[in-house]
Symmetry: C2
Subunit: 222 residues, 2 copies
């Protein structure tokens, strides 16, 4: 039996100018040397405890990041997606604020809208990640990972709007934030640079630093 190639790829998403962008790296080696692609690499059975561990290692090696949130997206496979042979790629996705990426000159950020020309099946992989992010953002704290550590509620609402691609009613937004209960006001700290009516600053609660707060989706509710 021909051995199967086992890799991980990471879809690293961020907001730039309020639009979703994906992080790409120039490939050093064949196949597709010189092209921009998702950060990825082989699973190392001597070193990795599982594929999630492999994804975190590859992300760190290739970008210098440790992402607080890294979720398995799906596994993509087949004989044609990688010219080296029949391959399985377990894909993870991560969200980071743009500020973290700015110092990484090797990373190219491209808007997810209108993205094309990616090698492998990375176009389809990115589309799958964006669909998952949008779907999950309707009922969870996921978009908060796109914010810097301190943020205002109006900014958090803009982030949700940018991810969902639609305006959100302010009352509905505040109500959902109350139910999700994943942020807390930082006492005595206000938004800088606004003499009149500066907004309160918030942060993610410690218990949601590496996991999501989810809205209850009981069948009987709503």
């Amino acid at each position: 039996m021909t051995p199967i190639i086992c890799t991980v790829d990471i879809v690293l998403l961020t907001l730039r100018s309020n639009k979703l962008h994906v992080a790409l790296l120039k490939r050093e080696q064949e196949p597709f040397a010189g092209m921009f692609a998702l950060p990825g690499g082989y699973v190392h059975s001597e070193q990795d405890r599982d594929v999630q561990d492999a994804a975190a290692r590859v992300l760190l090696e290739k970008t210098g990041f440790v992402s607080p949130y890294l979720e398995q997206l799906a596994t993509f496979s087949g004989p044609a997606r990688d010219p080296r042979g029949w391959s399985v790629s377990v894909v993870y996705y991560a969200l980071v604020p743009e500020e973290i990426i700015l110092n990484q000159t090797s990373i190219k950020l491209l808007p997810v809208e209108g993205l094309k020309g990616l090698p492998f099946d990375h176009q389809h992989v990115v589309e799958t990640a964006v669909a998952r992010l949008r779907s999950k953002s309707t009922y969870s704290s996921l978009p908060v990972y796109l914010c810097e550590p301190l943020f205002t509620l109006p900014h958090l609402q803009e982030v949700y709007e940018a991810v969902l691609g639609e305006p959100i009613n302010k009352v509905s937004f505040r109500r959902k934030m109350k139910v999700l209960a994943m942020v807390e006001a930082v006492d005595g700290v206000m938004e800088a640079g606004k003499a009149n009516r500066p907004a309160k600053l918030y942060r993610l609660k410690k218990e949601f630093k590496n996991s999501l707060s989810l809205l209850n989706r009981a069948f009987n509710a709503g």
Copy 2:
């Protein structure tokens, strides 16, 4: 680099006496020969077009079923889950009515509640599948795959209640079914064996035979 073992496993779920059960097969070969485990097998790079194709092939070979709905659950991995070595298992889950399984004497059905003693990491895999099924059933047509081709609405409600493990308000149920719009009444056909007030029989609409109908979970809604 030590090659990685690449397999698929299938969590086949059904309802028996209104309780969720999982289908297990006695293992013919080592490791764990003689124990009951999830149907699974190696990915065959010469034969399978992708891992979903491998899962459908393994399910057919081992149980004789073609499942109309087969969804990727998650990928499980690591050095310890399979004694043969560092392995990656892409797991799919499927739902079938109990009647389909009754003729398969090789299959053992065990209730998912209180399940224990499974080999590999199959205990954890089954728990993950049941959690996904419960979560997805709150906003989709998924449980309908547990019904026979023709069913009454009261029966469909019982199926949803069995999956979710809680009673559902009838008005709320009927409203959600209307929005999901995945079933249609079969004209002129009524439930058999009920002389007084037999109920209408329904079936899944053709367009949802292999895909789900999903409730809109827009952020602004509800």
